[in-house]
Homo-oligomer: 355 residues x 2
Amino acid sequence: MPTPILISLDAMGGDHGPPVVVGGVRDYIRRHGGEGVRFLLHGDETAIAAEAARLRLDAQVFEIRHTDKVVAMDEKPAQAMRRGKGSSLWNALEAVKAGEAHAVVSAGNTGALMAISKLVLRMAAQGLERPAIVASWPTLRGVTAVLDVGANIDCDAEQLLEFAIMGEAFHAAVHGVDKPTIGLLNVGSEEMKGHEEVREAGRLLRANTLGLDYHGFVEGDDIAKGTVDVVVTDGFTGNIALKTAEGTARFISAILKEALTSGIQAKVGALIALPALKTMRSRIDPSAINGGPLLGLNGIVVKSHGGATAKGFGNAIRIAVDLARSDYMAKVSANLGRLDQMIQSAATPPPESVS
Amino acid sequence: MPTPILISLDAMGGDHGPPVVVGGVRDYIRRHGGEGVRFLLHGDETAIAAEAARLRLDAQVFEIRHTDKVVAMDEKPAQAMRRGKGSSLWNALEAVKAGEAHAVVSAGNTGALMAISKLVLRMAAQGLERPAIVASWPTLRGVTAVLDVGANIDCDAEQLLEFAIMGEAFHAAVHGVDKPTIGLLNVGSEEMKGHEEVREAGRLLRANTLGLDYHGFVEGDDIAKGTVDVVVTDGFTGNIALKTAEGTARFISAILKEALTSGIQAKVGALIALPALKTMRSRIDPSAINGGPLLGLNGIVVKSHGGATAKGFGNAIRIAVDLARSDYMAKVSANLGRLDQMIQSAATPPPESVS
């Protein structure tokens, strides 16, 4: 891997554009040092340069690639694919395709990012219709990667295995865990539980041809317990689990806030306990876990939340840098090749039956 | 409906047996008055009578039906079906089958209760393989009924409509809401979102032949918001959503507790705010929402959590009484009949195509 790592940024994406993207670059450098990392900023040159000057960003660490064209946050994927060529989002991806940059980060429109990434970079995993989205889920034991959380609605056993391979490589690269453990999300831990797709995926993972550290089936409450490092599920179930958890967290925060402001005595207690409550909040701070990679593409693409702060965007950059520095792409490619062989040999009748 | 309402109880079910079941009867009478309600207690006469004496339960309100036989909490459903005849669980259900009692409450083994209920009472809904389980979900606006949360793994559009019909009648009976609103759980609100089964169910509900108040698709975070009164989903997704929410709630409680005991200052603050924190806890108190009916049977069956307290069991009794007193069974039966007609007329080719 050539030095320095070059990260391609869609500077116009997200709800805030250059202030958050350029601010994210500064935040990343502050926290992690800028050594060996440079940035390509795609978008309006004047706006980006003004922001870089205001934030006193070292001119050595970045280069601006001007374009007037922007994919709007509410643009439909089909329209973005037709009209998006030459936009900051498209150009950011093209820089990875051309081998110039090592990874892309964008806070833009998710649908458009998925569609244009697929068009420009192509899928590396045969079975996947669309890139898989990973959620980094705070747990009692750290962070668990959950995928897919929304892109691939109907998944067969092969797709679930592709998620397992990509999720394992992602978690190892970003969290420095040597051999992440993997669980399949299901309604119980016994072998006969769940629908056919998840049971078949379980059988294939137990056979262990791929060399993954497979723990078995896990249930919904195992996610927040941190029972495994990587939780694999289809995009329908994963999306509903993620949004249900977000809804539950918001519900509890709301009733906690209501309780702690319900009278003078409660308010006094809350004020005294405030530093501790703030520490608690930081454990579920969205900006500390911002940055969800789109997995399964021929290239590293990290999606930042559209409303992320500069600190949040800086975290998405960190994830892109960690992935680019690691052997993530090579590992995924090797394991997907082994999966292909496994599926093909399972489809070929064994010699005895043709003799 | 004859007076009094007779509730058939499996007195030996659950982790605690008679103390919780008889305690639940006392708790129900204390809170709601015992007028017009009597209880049949199935199980070990000596143990039940001792408990009733200890709790000074009025001999007028209950009758004991002795049996030595008990279905164990860890007994497999198939084994329970083979060997369970004459057990407290089986006899409690037989009393409803015979038309003697109006509803059953059991804190026993869920798998055995489902299997024996189906065997004794039979399914009323054609499409259902097993009874559907309803979760009463605390929300910002009260309580939302979510079903199925675990029994029917693969569901087609017809089954989802059966859940909508049963969930609506249940919510109306137990929460006194005249016309509960219904949402289908999905990954987005647009018509083209989700897999074929949920889209087809959405089309059928929008057509509104059943006269339900259909709101549209809802997402995971809509459950805790209380966007609709009844959330309909397949048993796989529903089970994972419910357990993910429980896991999230436990995770937040754990980090809140850790924060509030992290030092002297935090502890003092927590102590002062304690009454408010207790009020908050009562809003998510499991015993206040204990009691999940098994829907789709020819009879009212309410499952109590195996580890429920007497107060929790009393709440499950309240749900059984509310269902028995309402027009729930008649309404479900009428609507399932209309659904059958609708499905049959959809399956019959229209006259033009045969002319």
